[in-house]
Symmetry: C2
Subunit: 336 residues, 2 copies
C-alpha cells in the first residue's frame, strides 16, 4: 500500500507529511561545478552504498520514459529539479515508496521520507536514519560553524525541509486563508500550493513548511511545523463547523453536487477533478457522504493525474481520452 492510500493521524485535514534532507558528499564539488562524468560517479557510488539495503529499488531516471518521469513527480517521489536532470539523476526508493534518496538534484543527495497524515516525527526519523546510514559510509560536506553545506544558502545547517500537505477547503471558502498564510509567515514558515514552490493552489491543498534550516535542531524544526499545522488544523475544523452551522444547505448543496458529478461524469478535466475532489473530501469529513473504498479515494489524488492515468491505461492518451479515462477511474472509485 502506497503512502497515498494510507490514512494517517489528523487525516481529516492533513494529507501527507514530508521531510527532505539536503546533503552533499565531502569529496565532490557542488553540483553547479560538476561535469556529467562526475555526476555519473556520484550516482554510481550512491547506488553502491544503497545496494545492500533490502527492498530498495534503484532507478536511473535516464532510463525512464517521459510518462514514468512525470508519474514520479505526480506522486511527489521526484522533485521537478530531479526530473529536469533526468539524464544523470537517480532515485532510490524503499519498498513502500515512502523513503528514498534523490541523487543529482540541486544537491548531491536529497533524502526524503513521506508519512500519511500529520506525522513529521515519523517521516523525520525515517529520513534521518537513512541519512546517517549513508554518512557512516561516506562523509558529507560539513562546516563546524554552519553545519551541513548545501548548494543554496537557504538550506545550509540542517538541510531540512519539513512540510505538510493540508486540505483547507473551509478556510479557503470563507476567505480566511490569506490571514492564515500571513500568520504562518510571521513564525518563519511558508504556505505554498500543493505542487511546491510557485505552483498554483489546487484542490484547496496547501503545503506548510519551514523556511529556516539553521539555528534549530532537526527535531525543533519538525516540531515547529507540526505545531503550526495543529493550529491551522484547529482553525480549519472550526471553519468547517461554522459553515455547517451558518449555511448548511448552501454547503451541502455544493458538496453533494460535486459528489453527483464525480459519480456520473463521463469526461473530466484535471482542473475540474481537483475542484470536485476537494469538495467530496470535505463532504466526507462533514459526514454528508460515505466513501466505501477510502484507500482508492485517497490514491485518486495521484492516480487521476495525467501521467498516472496514461500509465494505467498502458498507452499515451489524447487530452480528450485522458478526460474520459479520468472520469471512468473516478466513477469506479466511488461506485457503491
Amino acid at each position: 500500500m502506497g503512502i497515498w492510500e494510507m490514512d494517517g493521524p489528523q487525516g481529516d485535514v492533513a494529507v501527507t507529511s514530508r521531510v527532505r534532507i539536503a546533503r552533499n558528499y565531502a569529496d565532490y564539488a557542488f553540483p553547479a561545478a560538476l561535469d556529467q562524468a562526475r555526476k555519473e560517479q556520484i550516482a554510481a557510488q550512491t547506488g553502491e552504498l544503497l545496494s545492500g539495503r533490502p527492498g530498495f529499488t534503484w532507478l536511473r531516471l535516464g532510463e525512464l520514459d517521459e510518462l514514468q518521469l512525470r508519474q514520479l513527480g505526480e506522486n511527489y517521489l521526484a522533485s521537478p529539479a530531479l526530473i529536469q536532470n533526468a539524464k544523470v539523476a537517480a532515485l532510490a526508493l524503499n519498498e513502500e515508496r515512502t523513503t528514498g534518496v534523490m541523487v543529482n538534484e540541486e544537491d548531491h543527495l536529497r533524502i526524503q521520507s513521506l508519512a500519511a497524515g500529520l506525522d513529521l516525527e515519523h517521516a523525520l526519523g525515517q529520513a534521518q536514519q537513512l541519512c546517517s546510514d549513508l554518512e557512516a559510509q561516506k562523509p558529507y560536506a560539513f562546516s563546524a560553524r554552519w553545519g551541513y553545506l548545501t548548494s543554496c544558502p537557504t538550506n545550509i545547517g540542517t538541510g531540512l525541509r519539513a512540510s505538510v500537505m493540508m486540505h483547507l477547503p473551509a478556510l479557503t471558502m470563507m476567505g480566511k486563508i490569506n490571514t492564515i498564510i500571513e500568520a504562518v509567515g510571521k513564525i518563519g514558515l511558508t504556505v505554498r500550493g500543493s505542487y511546491g514552490e510557485g505552483s498554483a493552489v489546487s484542490a484547496d491543498l496547501y503545503q506548510i513548511s519551514n523556511q529556516v534550516t539553521m539555528g534549530l535542531t532537526e527535531k525543533e524544526i519538525a516540531a515547529s511545523v507540526q505545531n503550526a499545522c495543529m493550529q491551522v488544523m484547529a482553525q480549519e475544523r472550526l471553519a468547517r463547523k461554522a459553515m455547517m452551522a451558518a449555511r448548511p444547505l448552501e454547503l451541502q448543496d455544493r458538496l453533494m453536487r460535486a459528489w453527483g458529478a464525480m459519480q456520473n461524469a463521463r469526461m473530466m478535466e484535471l482542473k475540474e477533478f481537483m475542484r470536485l475532489y476537494s469538495d467530496v473530501r470535505l463532504a466526507e469529513s462533514c459526514g454528508y457522504v460515505q466513501i466505501h473504498d477510502q484507500q482508492a479515494f485517497r490514491a485518486l489524488l495521484c492516480d487521476a493525474q495525467p501521467a498516472s492515468l496514461q500509465l494505467r491505461s498502458g498507452r499515451r492518451l489524447s487530452a480528450r481520452d485522458q478526460n474520459i479515462a479520468r472520469a471512468e477511474l473516478v466513477r469506479k472509485c466511488l461506485a457503491q
Copy 2:
C-alpha cells in the same frame, strides 16, 4: 392519476396533447361588450348546465387564493387570460382533470381536453362531446357563412386549437429547431414555447399547434397537427440517434451530470430544474438511466413549479425555500 403522470402514445417525445374549442353563447354579447353582472350570469348558467355531469368539479376562480390560481396555470388547466379574469371566471373540471370548461375567458366558453402523449383524436373526441352536450342545452353564436363566432377573428369557424407539447432536446442541441419551426410554419402550424404564446422555451418543450380554424373540419385540423407532430417526432428521434452515434460520450456526460445534480442538489432554481429535467428525460429515452417512479417523474414537470411546490408544503415559501423544497422533491422522486 392526473394527465401529467400518465404515459401516452409516443411518450418518448410527445408529452401531452391538448384541444380547446372556443364558443360563445348566442344570447349574450361577446365578452368585450359585457359588464360584470352579465358575466356572472354566464358563469351561473354554465354552472347549472354542467351541474348534472357526474364527477365534475365547479370552481369559481374568485374564491381561490393566488397560489391555487397559479397552480391551475402551472397544470395547464387554466389559461393566463382566465386567471386574469379570476373575479368573474369559472372552471369546470372532470374527475381526472383532463376535460373541462373555462368560463369567461376571451370567449364565453373555452372547452378543453388534455391527453397524455400524442393523442389529439382522443382529446378532440372528449372536447367535442362536452361541447355538443352544452350546445344541446343552450345554442352557440353561429353564422352559416363563417361557422362558430369568436372574440378574436383568428378563432372563427371551428374555434379549435389543437396543440401538442413536444420534448425536442436533440433538435435543439443540434441547432436544427429553427429549421423545424420554419417548416412547420409553412404548412400553417406554429411552434411556441411550452407555456403558450410569447412564453420562452423551457426544458426544450415546444407546442405545435394549428393557426387556421376555418375551411377545415375539426378532424382535419387535428389530423394535420398530429401528422406534423409525427414528422417532427421522427426528426427528433433521428437527431437523438445521430447524437448518440456521433458524440456518445459528450452526450452521456452532459445527461449523466444532470442526473447526478438532480439526485444530489439541496437547492434548485426553477430555471435549472427545467434544464436538468429536459436532460434527464432525454437520458431516460436514450437508455442511460432508469427512472423507477415514472409517474412521479412525469408529474414533476408540474409539481416542481412555484405554486404547486408551495401548496404541497402547505405554506408560502420564500424564493430560497422554494429552491430547497424543489431540490427535495426532485431528490425524493429519483431516490432508488
